[in-house]
C-alpha cells in the first residue's frame, strides 16, 4: 500500500538526530533499517509526520571488542553482525540467532538496534540480548543512560526507549571458558517469524551444568528468561534425559498467546521441547 505523506530527515550525529526528534514532536519517529517501520507505514498502521533516519550515523555503526565485552552500534545491520569475526568468536549466540532472522534482503537492511527498539515479541534478538545480559545505551535530550536488558523490554512493541530517545549501542559481556550456546527457532517457513524461539547459554564444569541462561522468544509480551529451568539445571549432569526433565518447567512464568502460528497449549509444549533441545545442544549433550 501507499503510506501517508511524511517528512524525512537524515541526521549525521546522535545529537542532530535527537534535535530532529524533539523538533518533530509527538509524531516523529526513528527509522533505521526500515524493515519493521516500512510495513507499518505501508499498511497505514503508523503515520508519523517526520521520519528521522539513523542509518547513516557513524557512531551507531560497527562492532568493537572491549576485552571482556563487545559493543555493537545500534544501526549495524543484521548482515554485518552475523558476519563479524568478533561476534562469531565471542557472541556466537547472537551470530547464530541473527542468521535465522528473515532472509538476506531483510538482513542487509534491518539493524540490531532496530530489532531491539521495535520490541516485537516474535523478534529473535531480544531473547538473545536478555539471555546474554546485554546493556543498552540510550541517548536523549537529557543525555545518555545505560539500561540492562531485563529492564529494557517493557511490553508489546514498547521498550525503555522514549519517544525522543535513540538506542545508540548494545554492549554484551563475553561468556568466557566452558560456555556453549544455541538458538533453537521454531518456524514454519525458513524466512518466517519464530512461533517459539529459545536462546540458551550453558556453562559446563566437570560434566555438570554450572550455570544456564535461557531467553524465550514469543512466549509473552516481552522476551522472558526461563528462570525455573535455569535453576533446575544447575548441577544437573549433561545428559539428554536429565536436561529434558529440567526443561519441563519452561512455560512457567510465560504468557503464551494464541494466534495462527500456535495456540497457547502448543506453544507451551514447544517451549519445553525446544528448551531441552537448545540446552542439550549448548551443553553438548
Amino acid at each position: 500500500m501507499i503510506p501517508s505523506t511524511f517528512d524525512y530527515v537524515r541526521p549525521k550525529s546522535v545529537d542532530e538526530a535527537i534535535a530532529a526528534l524533539t523538533a518533530g514532536g509527538e509524531d516523529s519517529k526513528v527509522i533505521t533499517g526500515g524493515q519493521s517501520m516500512l510495513p507499518l507505514l505501508r499498511l497505514r498502521m503508523a503515520a508519523p509526520s517526520v521520519l528521522v533516519d539513523c542509518a547513516r550515523i557513524d557512531e551507531m555503526k560497527g562492532i568493537k571488542d572491549n576485552g571482556d565485552s563487545v559493543t555493537i552500534g545500534a544501526a549495524t545491520t543484521h548482515l554485518d553482525v552475523m558476519s563479524s569475526d568478533i561476534v562469531k568468536s565471542h557472541v556466537k549466540l547472537l551470530a547464530d540467532a541473527t542468521a535465522t532472522v528473515a532472509d538476506p534482503q531483510v538482513r542487509h537492511r534491518g539493524t540490531f538496534g532496530g530489532a531491539l527498539a521495535h520490541g516485537d515479541p516474535a523478534g529473535d534478538l531480544p531473547a538473545v540480548a536478555l539471555a546474554l545480559d546485554a546493556t543498552m545505551e540510550i541517548a536523549g535530550p537529557k543525555g545518555r543512560r545505560q539500561v540492562a536488558a531485563k529492564d529494557f523490554f517493557v511490553d508489546y512493541f514498547t521498550t525503555a526507549v522514549g519517544p525522543d530517545e535513540i538506542l545508540v549501542s548494545i554492549t554484551i559481556p563475553k561468556l568466557g571458558k566452558g560456555w556453549g550456546t544455541c538458538y533453537e527457532k521454531f518456524n514454519r517457513t525458513a524466512n518466517g517469524w519464530a512461533i517459539v524461539g529459545v536462546a540458551a547459554a550453558v556453562k559446563v564444569e566437570g560434566g555438570k551444568i554450572a550455570e544456564a541462561r535461557i531467553g524465550l522468544t514469543n512466549c509473552a509480551a516481552v522476551p522472558v528468561r526461563a528462570s525455573s529451568v535455569e535453576s533446575a539445571l544447575t548441577g544437573v549432569a549433561v545428559s539428554a534425559t536429565e536436561i529434558e526433565a529440567a526443561s519441563q518447567s519452561a512455560a512457567d512464568g510465560t504468557r503464551a498467546t494464541t494466534d495462527l502460528g500456535a495456540d497457547k497449549e502448543y506453544r507451551e509444549h514447544l517451549m519445553r521441547v525446544l528448551t531441552a533441545r537448545a540446552v542439550s545442544c549448548a551443553a553438548g549433550a
Partner: protein
C-alpha cells in the same frame, strides 16, 4: 541472419528461454509501467466486513482531497456499474446472483468494492479514500459451507432465499450402479477430506490501464490478464463498448495460476470510467487488496467412499462434494468442481461411479480457477483414499495401485467417468520413479525407525496421478453448458527478409511460449528459432484466441502452429516448384530448403521463396502474393499427462514438524518441445502443490474476516523450504494431437499434494493416524498424533 546450415531439429532441445532476459531484469512493459499523459489513478474503498448493510455512504468528502477529480459509489456510478459475468451456468436452475462492480447497499465479503476515487496520482487517490464516509450495519455472516446449507442459515443473498447455488449429479452407470457395486464389496472405506481454500499469490499484482486512443474511437485496455481475448468479449458485453472499438492488451504478465483468468470488477470499472470521462484510468492493486479481491481457489469438502473386494479390486467410487463459491460467481466459479468431476477415478478401473456436487455461497471472496482447477482436488481425494484402502486391507499401497490401474496395453481406455484416455504407461513411469527414489531402501529405513521408536519417523507418500488438460473440444464444452469454445489459432507470416512472425492466440504469463512456439515453427518451416518472433496477447495484433489456462496452450495451440506452418510450406512449395520448373510433388523439403528430387543442385530456400512471394514477379497463375497462412484448430480430445510422484517426509513426533527429505517424480507428458521449460513447469507446480499440503490455507473467522490477509500469515514457501527435486520422464506420445504432446502446466501442482500428505500419514500410521488435515501445520500434526495416541481416530 543465422546460418541456415546450423539448423537442427529444434523440438526436444532444452533451449534457454528467449523471454527470460527481459522478464528477469524487468526491462519490459508490465501494466503498472505504463504511464499515459492525463491518466487518473483509481483507488478503491473495500469492505472491511464479511457481511453488512451499507447504512450511509457519502463520497463527497473525498473530493476535498488534493488531486482528486471524482469519487463514486454505486449511486453516482448508476448504469456504468456493470456486473461481473459468469459464463458457466452449470445447471438450468443454477442460482446466479447479481455481482455489481461496486456494491449496491450491501457488502458480502471482506474486500467487496464499496466506492472509488480518481486522482492525479495513486498516492492522492489512496489518501482520499479516508474522506469517504461509510457506515455499516453488521449482518450475520456465514463462512462454514455446511452451516450455509443448513436450515435457518443467514443468507448471503437474501433475495435468492437460499445459499445453494446448484446441485450437480453424474452417474454414468445409472443411479443404482454404485449401490450395486457397494453391495458386492468386502471393504468400504469412507473419508472426509477438506481441500482448503488457497490464494493464487502470483508475483505481479493485478493492474489495469484503460485509455481512449485519440480520434479513432478505440478504447485500449492493458491488463495483467491471462485472457485478453476472453476479456475483450466479456468487457464488451458488460460495458457496451463495441467489440471492434475495444482493444485488449496483456503486456508481459507476471504469473497468474488461474487468478488472472477473469473479468474483474476493477477491469470493468476502468473501462467504464475511461469511456465516460475520456481519459486514461489506471489501477494497480496492493498486495493487501489482492489477498481479498483476487479470486481464491479450491475450498471443497469431499466425502469420498470407495468400495473394493478384500484382495483389493476396486468396485466403485462415490464422491459427494460441497464446493465453496464464495459470495458471488465469477467467470467459471461454478464449473471448477466439474473440471475435477471426471478425474476422481484417476488412473483406476472400476465398475461404478457416482458424483454429486453442491455449490454453496458464503461470505467469502469468490473462488475460481487456481492451478489445476478441480483436478488437484480430485487427485487428492483418489490418491488419499487409495492409501486408506490399502491400509484397511493390509496391502502395500503401490501394489493396490498396480492391481487397479489401466494397463499400458489397454489404451485407449474409457474410464468409469466416461472419458477416453488416449495413451499412458503407468508401469514404466512407476518403475523409473521407484528406482530413482530408492523405494525399497527407504521402506527398510522406515522399518528401522519404527522399531527403534525414533522421535523422527519416516513416511513415504505415493501419487500415481493423471489429469485431463488441453481445454477443450468445443462440443464437449458446449455439452457442459460452458458458453465458449476451446479452439486455438495461429497465423504464420514469413516476411520478405526471411524472418517470421508467429501470431498465437495463447497468452503467456511466464510459461515460455515465445521459445517453445518458435521451436515448433522452426522445425516446421526450417527457419532458425532466433528468426521467429512470437506475437501474442494483443487483440489488435492477434485477434483470435482462447488464451492460456488449463495446460491448453501447447496441447491445443501447438496444433494450430503446426498446421499453420504446414500450410505455409505447402504454399511455398507451389512457388518453389513453379520457379524450379518442376511439379510440387517432385520437391523434397528438408531443413528449410526445397530440392528437386534427383537433381539436388536445383534448390530454393524458404526464405528466398518468401522474397519471391513478396515481389510477386513470378508466381504461379492464380496464386496470391505473400507467404503466410493461418489455422484455427478445435482439439479432437483432451490430453492425459500422468506420472508417478514419490515423497519422503520426516516427521518430528515431538513437535509435529514435517520436513521433506526427498521428492521424485517421473512425469509422462508425451513429446517434450523444450525439456528445460518442462522442468521449470514441474518445479513450480510441485512447489505450489507442496505448499497446499504443508503451508498455505486461507483462514476466515466466523464474521468473515480473512485472518491470513498478508504474507506474514499466508505462508508461501520459498526455495529454502523445499528440497532439490528429482524429476524425470517417460515419453508416451498423445494420440489426440499430431505433435504427440500433453500439457504440463499443472501436473506438479495436481500430483504433489496427496504425495506429501500420504507420506505424513504413512510416517504416523503406527500411532493410529489415518488422516491429516491440510495444511499439515506442525500444531495440527501434533494434535492429530496426540489424538491417535489416545486412541481416538
Amino acid at each position: 541472419m543465422t546460418e541456415l546450415a546450423d539448423h537442427v531439429a529444434a523440438i526436444g532441445r532444452p533451449i534457454k528461454r528467449k523471454e527470460d532476459a527481459r522478464l528477469l531484469t524487468g526491462k519490459t512493459q508490465w501494466t503498472d509501467n505504463i504511464q499515459l499523459p492525463g491518466a487518473l489513478h483509481m483507488a478503491i474503498l473495500r469492505s472491511p466486513m464479511g457481511h453488512a448493510k451499507i447504512t450511509k455512504l457519502d463520497v463527497s468528502g473525498a473530493l476535498k482531497y488534493p488531486g482528486v477529480e471524482a469519487a463514486y459509489s454505486a449511486t453516482e456510478l448508476g448504469d456504468l456499474n456493470g456486473s461481473v459475468p459468469c459464463v458457466w451456468p452449470v445447471t438450468d436452475d443454477m442460482v446466479a446472483p447479481d455481482f455489481p462492480a461496486l456494491a449496491k447497499g450491501e457488502v458480502r465479503h471482506m474486500g467487496d468494492c464499496v466506492a472509488l476515487v480518481l486522482a492525479h496520482t495513486a498516492a492522492q487517490a489512496a489518501d482520499a479514500l479516508e474522506g469517504i464516509v461509510v457506515e455499516y450495519a453488521t449482518l450475520p455472516a456465514v463462512i462454514d459451507m455446511e452451516a450455509a446449507i443448513a436450515d435457518g442459515s443467514p443468507l448471503v443473498h437474501s433475495d435468492k432465499g437460499t445459499n445453494k447455488c446448484y446441485t450437480y449429479h453424474l452417474q454414468p452407470q445409472g443411479d443404482s450402479a454404485y449401490a450395486e457395486a457397494k453391495a458386492k464389496a468386502d471393504v468400504v472405506v469412507k473419508r472426509r477430506f477438506i481441500n482448503q481454500r488457497l490464494i493464487p499469490a502470483f508475483m505481479e499484482p493485478r493492474a489495469v490501464v484503460a485509455a481512449p486512443m485519440g480520434t479513432s474511437g478505440e478504447l485500449t485496455i492493458w491488463s495483467a490478464t491471462q485472457v485478453p481475448h476472453v476479456l475483450r468479449v466479456l468487457l464488451t458485453l458488460v460495458t457496451g463498448v463495441p467489440e471492434n472499438k475495444l482493444r485488449v492488451v496483456a503486456p508481459d504478465v507476471g504469473g497468474g495460476f488461474g487468478g488472472k483468468l477473469q473479468c474483474y470488477r476493477e477491469e470493468i470499472l476502468c473501462v467504464a470510467l475511461a469511456n465516460k470521462l475520456g481519459r486514461p484510468i489506471k489501477w494497480t492493486e496492493t498486495r493487501s487488496e489482492d489477498m481479498v479481491a483476487t479470486h481464491h481457489g479450491r475450498d471443497q469438502i469431499q466425502d469420498i467412499e470407495i468400495a473394493a473386494t478384500k484382495d483389493g479390486k476396486l468396485l466403485g467410487l462415490k464422491v459427494d462434494l460441497i464446493a465453496n463459491m464464495g459470495a458471488y460467481l465469477q467467470i467459471i466459479t461454478p464449473g471448477i468442481p466439474l473440471l475435477g468431476m471426471f478425474m476422481y477415478p484417476g488412473i483406476y478401473k472400476m465398475d461404478a461411479y457416482d458424483f454429486t456436487c453442491i455449490g454453496v455461497f458464503t461470505n467469502t471472496t469468490p473462488t475460481d480457477a487456481y492451478r489445476g482447477a478441480g483436478r488437484p482436488e480430485s487427485t487428492y481425494a483418489i490418491e488419499r483414499i487409495m492409501d486408506e484402502l490399502a491400509n484397511e486391507i493390509g496391502m502395500e499401497p503401490m501394489e493396490l495401485r498396480k492391481k487397479n490401474w489401466i494397463k499400458h496395453e489397454e489404451f485407449p481406455y474409457t474410464t468409469v467417468a466416461g472419458l477416453t484416455y488416449d495413451s499412458g504407461n503407468y508401469e514404466a513411469a512407476t518403475e523409473k520413479a521407484l528406482a530413482l527414489f530408492k523405494y525399497d531402501e527407504l521402506r527398510k529405513e522406515q522399518e528401522k525407525r519404527r522399531a527403534s521408536g525414533d522421535k523422527v519417523q519416516l513416511g513415504i507418500g505415493i501419487s500415481t496421478f493423471t489429469e485431463m488438460c488441453g481445454l477443450a473440444p468445443s462440443r464437449t464444452l458446449g455439452a457442459l453448458k460452458y458458453v465458449a469454445g476451446g479452439w486455438e489459432h495461429c497465423t504464420i507470416r514469413v516476411l520478405p527478409t526471411g524472418k517470421v512472425e508467429l501470431v498465437t492466440g495463447t497468452s503467456p504469463h511466464g510459461q515460455g511460449h515465445e521459445t517453445a512456439w518458435s521451436q515448433i515453427a522452426s522445425d516446421t518451416l526450417g527457419i532458425p528459432v532466433d528468426d521467429i518472433e512470437v506475437i501474442h496477447g494483443d487483440t489488435r495484433t492477434s485477434p483470435y484466441g482462447m488464451d492460456t489456462y488449463g495446460s491448453r496452450s501447447l496441447a491445443v495451440g501447438g496444433q494450430a502452429i503446426l498446421r499453420a506452418g504446414e500450410k505455409v510450406v505447402e504454399k511455398a512449395r507451389l512457388i518453389a516448384a513453379h520457379q524450379l520448373e518442376c511439379s510440387p510433388a517432385d520437391l523434397e523439403f528438408d531443413h528449410g530448403t526445397f530440392r528437386v528430387k534427383g537433381d539436388p543442385s536445383k534448390e530454393k530456400a524458404i526464405q528466398a521463396v518468401a522474397f519471391e512471394a513478396f515481389t510477386a514477379h513470378d508466381l504461379p497463375d492464380g496464386l496470391e502474393p505473400t507467404l503466410q497462412a493461418e489455422s484455427t484448430v478445435d482439439p479432437q480430445d483432451f490430453s492425459y499427462p500422468h506420472g508417478t510422484h514419490l515423497c519422503a517426509m520426516e516427521v518430528d513426533t515431538e513437535t509435529g514438524k514435517s520436513v521433506m527429505r526427498s521428492y521424485v517424480c517421473v512425469d509422462d507428458i508425451g513429446i517434450q518441445i523444450n525439456p528445460l521449460i518442462v522442468e521449470g513447469q514441474v518445479h513450480g507446480g510441485l512447489a505450489q502443490g507442496i505448499a497446499q499440503a504443508l503451508y498455505e490455507g486461507a483462514v476466515y473467522d466466523s464474521d468473515g474476516q480473512l485472518l491470513t490477509a498478508s504474507f506474514a500469515d499466508y505462508l508461501v514457501p520459498g526455495a529454502p523450504d523445499l528440497p532439490s527435486f528429482t524429476t524425470d520422464h517417460t515419453v508416451t506420445p498423445s494420440t489426440t494431437n499430431p505433435l504427440g504432446t500433453k500439457g504440463v502446466g499443472e501436473a506438479g501442482a495436481i500430483a504433489s499434494t496427496p504425495a506429501v500428505i500420504n507420506a505424513i500419514v504413512d510416517a504416523l500410521r503406527p500411532f493410529g493416524v489415518n488422516d491429516m488435515p491440510m495444511p499439515a501445520h506442525p500444531m495440527t500434526v501434533w494434535r492429530t498424533l496426540n489424538a491417535a495416541r489416545q486412541g481416538g481416530k
